[in-house]
């Protein structure tokens, strides 16, 4: 009997850990763009939030809320010129309609303008990063999470001009 209880307890503990590791946002595609040296390319990262859930936008209405934010570990040959987060939508919990939050739900993009460094070597550059977010449904909130994010930029060979 003790063994049975122990096995069930271990099973529940393991499931509880799974809940804590669970992601509520996923990256829908892994973009791959090509760009000639010194030009700018647009990378659109698309994300999906689980149904019936929302995450704070990049500009939540109050200071204590955790904003959705992308951080990238960029190769030295690449820089991000601009990061564009979409505008969020107003949302209020049924128990307090007066407190308006600014959130994303469903699918949302984050757009990046990237530019290779002057003299960057031609070839593929893999970029990795993390999307920080904090998800809630209409009754409960889940601890802040970090979703691994990736995309690829291929730097094209620059044609040399003939004189």
């Amino acid at each position: 009997m003790r063994t049975v209880i122990l096995i069930i307890a271990l099973g529940v503990a393991s499931q509880a850990q799974e809940v804590q590791k669970k992601q509520y946002v996923s990256q829908l595609t892994t973009p791959h763009v090509s760009v000639a040296g010194a030009q700018t390319a647009t990378v659109e990262l698309k994300f999906a939030i689980q149904p019936e859930m929302h995450i704070n936008s990049n500009h939540p209405n109050t200071d204590n809320l955790i904003a959705t934010k992308l951080t990238l570990d960029l190769p030295t040959d690449l820089s991000v010129v601009k990061t564009i987060y979409p505008a969020g939508k107003d949302f209020a919990f049924a128990f307090d309609p007066s407190e308006k939050l600014n959130v994303y739900s469903g699918e949302f993009p984050i757009t990046l303008h990237v530019r290779p460094a002057h003299g960057a070597m031609a070839g593929p550059l893999k970029v990795h990063g993390e999307l920080q977010y904090q998800a809630c449904n209409d009754r409960a909130c889940f601890p802040p999470k970090k979703l691994p994010v990736e995309f690829e930029v291929t730097v094209l060979k620059t044609k040399s001009r003939r004189r």
Binding site: I5, I8, V19, R139, C141, F142
Partner: protein, 175 residues
Amino acid sequence: MILLVAGMIYLGARISRNQKVGLEPPEAPQVAAGNPAPEFELKTLDGKTAKLSDYKGKAVLLNFWATWCEPCKIEMPWLVEYNKQYGPQGFTVLGVAMDDDADSKAWVQKDIRKFSDEMKVNYPVLLGTSKIGDTYGGVPFLPEIFYIGRDGKIVEHAIGLKGKGEIEENIKKIL
């Protein structure tokens, strides 16, 4: 052995169904209603140490919350009101702030204090740790409330934002 396998299958199906809904974590056996509430020792926001056993003989509403949790913010004024209303009957709210590094980083404690002051919190605020989270079933969602009777046993367990009336009903069960 057949019973064991059947039990595991039932448990797995129940957990899977609950997780699909996204609201209910698996009920940890050690914090199920009827069991003694696990003992803990935590730092308080005012620099002291508090243990659950310090409140022996009192009815305790143990509330897990965080500054980034909007539903927690909604129910806090209700907890403040009930702490004042039922305090003379031997009732207390204990708020456990589950912000990351609540027990170790001064700037996190500053945020918790600012938030608590803004919410006019009139009950002890304890600084949560991952250990107390694990002890109380993982605390994967916030807010989460354990209603603990005067005998130290868990009477009710509520996950997520509930109505004000439901909170008061549960308080009356432990008075």
